[in-house]
Symmetry: C2
Subunit: 256 residues, 2 copies
């Protein structure tokens, strides 16, 4: 159910992404009431507020005081709009990270984590066919500059980039979806768990013998301090992000 990017006619989408000069003057016909920028902004606002599932052409139109069909004068179709949203959003990210490679890569990952939590809908856009917009390239360029200091080969750098991206996306997605699930169902992580855990022992009375390692893990957790202010899964995702990033960068160090 991922949303696919870069599917449409590139002769139309690429100039929009790279803001090629409009070359539009002296047209007949009524003055356009809108422009692509305004539409993309409105679409991002809808997606931030309602998630990708709530992003419909009608919803964007409504926010702009026009019908869904009016938007088709400016963008070829919904997927082209998502391409533009995706690249525009990435403009928020920093394009340079100074200092030693490990600090720079960590800062890059932290910024990306925060970005994904601000715009969780970005995580639903598939990476398989990249958008090829300027800001996505900026983000990659920034990471590559930070990785320069490792002295790794191009081959290794490519794998590190992929691994870091998958990791940050996955961890952020866990956090974002947990938030989304709570909002959509009205059940907090705790509510959800308390509704299920008694049933689990009822339906699987041999749980402890069947899954000793899982029980060991749970027992270990019992001795840890609990952060009451953050929902369970978000806390878990954040911890995975921090520790996992550090482990991953240890692995990179070991390769140098």
């Amino acid at each position: 159910m991922a949303v696919f990017a870069a599917q449409g006619d590139p002769r139309r989408s690429m100039p929009l992404l790279w803001r090629a000069p409009d070359s539009s003057a002296g047209h007949p016909g009524p003055k356009p009431a809108l422009n692509v920028d305004v539409i993309v902004d409105a679409a991002i606002a809808v997606a931030d507020a309602e998630g990708m599932a709530g992003l419909s052409m009608r919803a964007v139109g409504e926010r702009l005081g026009c019908t869904a069909m009016a938007l088709y004068t400016y963008v070829a179709d919904k997927s082209a709009l998502v391409d533009l949203m995706y690249d525009r959003a990435h403009a928020e990210l920093a394009t340079d990270y100074r200092g030693p490679w490990r600090a720079a890569v960590t800062a890059w990952a932290e910024d990306l984590w925060a970005f994904y939590l601000r715009h969780p809908w970005v995580l639903t856009v598939s990476q398989a066919r990249p958008v090829l917009g300027p800001h996505e390239f900026d983000v990659l360029e920034a990471l590559l500059r930070a990785l320069r200091g490792t002295g790794l080969s191009g081959r290794e750098v490519r794998s590190v980039v992929g691994t870091l991206s998958h990791f940050v996306r996955g961890a952020a997605q866990m956090s974002a979806e947990s938030r989304q699930a709570a909002a959509a169902t009205g059940l907090s992580d705790d509510d959800w768990w308390y509704a299920r855990s008694p049933l689990l022992s009822e339906v699987a009375p041999d749980f402890a013998e069947r899954y000793p390692e899982i029980c060991w893990l749970e027992a270990e957790r019992a001795g840890e301090p609990v952060n009451e202010t953050v929902p369970y899964m978000e806390n878990e995702a954040r911890e995975t992000f921090e520790v996992g990033l550090s482990i991953l960068l240890d692995g990179v160090s070991a390769r140098m």
Copy 2:
């Protein structure tokens, strides 16, 4: 657009997941023509063939020679069906990996990678609210047993599990979505790229100055042997998986 699991009434879904005894005998009414198992199998077949986007109640019904509404006698709603599909599919995976921890964890990751490529729709099911079925627990238990040998603390093990999961999912998703994009659009990775790359230099003539690191990476790649038999992105994803896993486990070693 992730599909959410474990949303429905747990009093109904948990017994189905854990196959509690039916306690159904001597009912009035017509004989059931179907059963949950048959429905779940058909649904998995549909999702394997058409992807999660092609999984509709009508499609499953059609495969079984009944209407979509007939299925609602057996499963509460579509999301309950997805829960059952998710857990049933995981039954394919091994439940034990012997040998030293690194080999065992690598085998676990390899099996999971292959599993995700066989059933890419599994990747669209959110992890934020786990299904809590027996086979998902089996998979986790197997990984934990493999990680036993590292001697890490529960806290660290939890982060390693999360990191590994995010990583394998991300890499497999890249590969699966690339395949899916090619099938859906009829454009191979190469076709797709050849349609876009000339436009990129047209629309961004200063690409080389603006993105020197990206260009360096591309230049490095030019000197590498090319595997013609595998589409570009799938090859890239596989390489990221192999090298990334090795880096990640180096990082785990460093913690021990």
